[in-house]
Amino acid sequence: MRYVLPQPWEELPHTADVGLAASGATPEEALARLVLGLGAMLAGGGGVGPAAAGRPAPGEAAAGGEARIDVAGGADLAQTAVTLLREVLFRFATGREIPVAVEVLSFAPGRATADVTFGRWDPERNAEGADVKAVTYHAARFEREGGGWRAQVILDT
């Protein structure tokens, strides 16, 4: 199932950085919402523009569009979720891309695959976005809770 921004997510308090949590009826739903929660943080409440059309200008990274992200790594669902989020964050760090829609195709300890649609970060529209620098393993959780699934990560800002 494809999930599109906005989706429910929570910011968790942390003294030095920021926590991100999301829930879902299935692990795939919780993971999709976690990815889009990261997108919402990066967007800072502002809208996210469409993918840049055409070829990028010299020196400018291509941004936006669809991408299949396939990651391997992580001993459990929490660590695998961190691995996927790190890949999403890398695209933000290098291409200013923000995830706006996610379909998790597969998700198991050690492997995750998702089709992610990215939009483009805008310095004006997204001026209140968080400057997330890393997705950490610190306090990372991905577990059953209350009949569904709950996921959380701590982001280094």
Partner: protein, 479 residues
């Protein structure tokens, strides 16, 4: 958490269970036993090869694996290196540049000076292109040469910048080939940029001198203007740490039961002497060199911008690098332990080197008095210059605190800032501030931080560092 008082400023976490050494916490009053950072101090004490103590400075707070404010030295032959003991922002650090400019001269042109700095030094999310994007060969040179690369391209305060930089502005063991293509991609256009969050560039006034003799040796004069730059290795360092943790965490158990039994996965580590350990060290040192080059480029940009804003030549400005210190690094250093000289790998995560008088590693100009220890506070209060002591060499592997430490989460700070105009509040106190991010000033306001005066007070009372001067902000730029 059991705590045993050593003296008014120092508590010990007794060794128990898998801890190889006790923990030692420098603190302003008894540490709160339920502080999760203390559990991290105890966890670090499980590190293979750790020597003497797992240390915590008085600005300790909860981090990843290691607490921020943590110091741990290991035997490099049999011990472990941990990326969590360095932190994500490899060689986040601070430098102070003194000038001969009087604060009274700056005051009428402060706004122009701050605006010019804000224009010339890229700040904020995605800040880039302070200088043209580096080619692969140029980036290799930066990763090898550190601050020297930048000085060679004319980015300097004066002729002795490298002599006044910890490690001369570069670690010799850097291995650019250990820095991945992805880390290079993140860093290649970020050299000379400030970043965001708690990074800053300040114009400070030397508000008070506590030790005239040491201040004179450092070139610090009450009433004069100093420039402070706090920044690190930007996206390149973050990516190096990310990749190292991803590599080391799943493979720890293969190094034996001491590694398998580590109580926190963010203490991911490898033997210093292993291929993975050497690879991390090589990449970390390269990232550290990138950070030194970063601060050096910004030094050149800032000194030029300040001079042009005030219509002063660089010679008239009299800018000179006082010192540059790392806050997040692991280095091979010689220390005397129980009377025996030993080579150790010292992890400092949110801690500052603070070598004492007479140490040959302190720049010649300061050797008689000791190494400058630079401790930034927050943008509304003050920062400090201290000096290292012989006692620091005996008790903390020559280490001291690094800053104020956060009191409020970013969320709590923004809530407290709601309805307020932080820049106007600062302006009413004579502090001009410009920031790129709309939330930055709320997140970074003074109330969000501990009082750095109390933090340095603990270090002074414990004899680990001595107060030299207090700096107060006049102008601030942030991301």
């Amino acid at each position: 958490m059991k705590l045993h008082r050593i003296h008014d400023w120092l508590w010990e976490i007794p060794r128990e269970g898998g801890m190889k050494v006790p923990g030692r916490v420098y603190s302003d009053g008894p540490p709160a036993p339920d502080d999760p950072a203390l559990r991290q101090v105890a966890n670090v004490a499980h590190l293979p090869g750790i020597v003497k103590w797992s240390l915590a400075m008085p600005d300790i707070h909860w981090g990843y694996g290691f607490p921020i404010g943590g110091v741990a030295a290991v035997d490099p032959e049999r011990g472990a290196v941990s990326p969590g003991g360095v932190g994500y922002d490899i060689n986040c650090g601070v430098r102070v540049i003194t000038t001969r400019l009087d604060a009274g001269e700056l005051r009428p042109r402060l706004r122009q000076a701050v605006a010019r700095l804000f224009h010339d030094v890229p700040t904020g999310v995605g800040s880039s292109h302070a200088i043209p994007r580096l080619s692969e060969a140029e980036l290799d040179a930066v990763l090898r040469k550190g601050a020297r690369w930048a000085v060679g391209r004319g980015f300097a305060a004066s002729g002795d910048d490298l002599a006044h930089c910890e490690e001369g502005g570069a670690l010799a063991g850097a291995d650019p080939e250990a820095v991945s293509a992805r880390a290079r991609q993140r860093g290649a256009d970020q050299l000379g940029t400030l970043g965001s969050g708690n990074h800053f560039l300040e114009l400070d006034r030397v508000a008070e001198v506590y030790d005239e003799r040491v201040a004179a040796a450092f070139g610090l004069c009450a009433g004069e203007v100093a420039v402070q730059i706090h920044s690190g290795s930007r996206g390149l360092g973050y990516q190096v740490c990310d990749e190292s943790l991803a590599e080391l965490a799943p493979t720890m158990a293969r190094y034996g039961p001491d590694y398998a039994a580590l109580p926190d996965p963010q203490l991911a580590c490898a033997p210093v002497a292993s291929p993975a350990g050497r690879r991390y060290l090589g990449a970390m040192q390269a990232a550290a060199n990138f950070a030194w080059a970063n601060r050096q480029v910004m030094t050149g940009l800032a000194v030029r911008a300040l001079g042009e804003a005030l219509g002063r030549s660089q010679r008239d400005l009299g800018a000179r690098l006082l010192y540059d210190v790392c806050h997040n690094v692991a280095k091979l250093e010689s220390h005397v332990v129980d009377g025996v000289p030993r080579r150790l790998l010292v992890h400092r995560k949110g801690a500052t080197r603070a070598f004492g008088p007479g140490d040959p590693r302190v720049p010649e100009a300061y050797r008689e008095v000791g190494q400058p220890v630079l401790v930034p506070g927050d943008m509304g209060r003050c920062s400090y210059v201290l000096v290292g002591t012989a006692r620091a060499m005996q008790e903390t592997f020559g280490s001291s605190c690094h800053g104020a430490g956060r009191l409020l989460s970013r969320h709590q700070a923004l809530k407290a800032a709601r309805g307020r105009s932080i820049d106007r509040e600062l302006a009413e106190r004579g502090i001009e501030v410009l920031s790129r991010g709309r939330k930055t000033l709320g997140e970074e306001m003074s109330e969000a931080y501990k009082d750095v005066s109390r933090v340095v007070g603990v270090m002074a009372a414990a004899g680990i560092s001595r107060l030299v001067a207090r700096l107060e902000p006049m102008g601030v730029i942030k991301g």
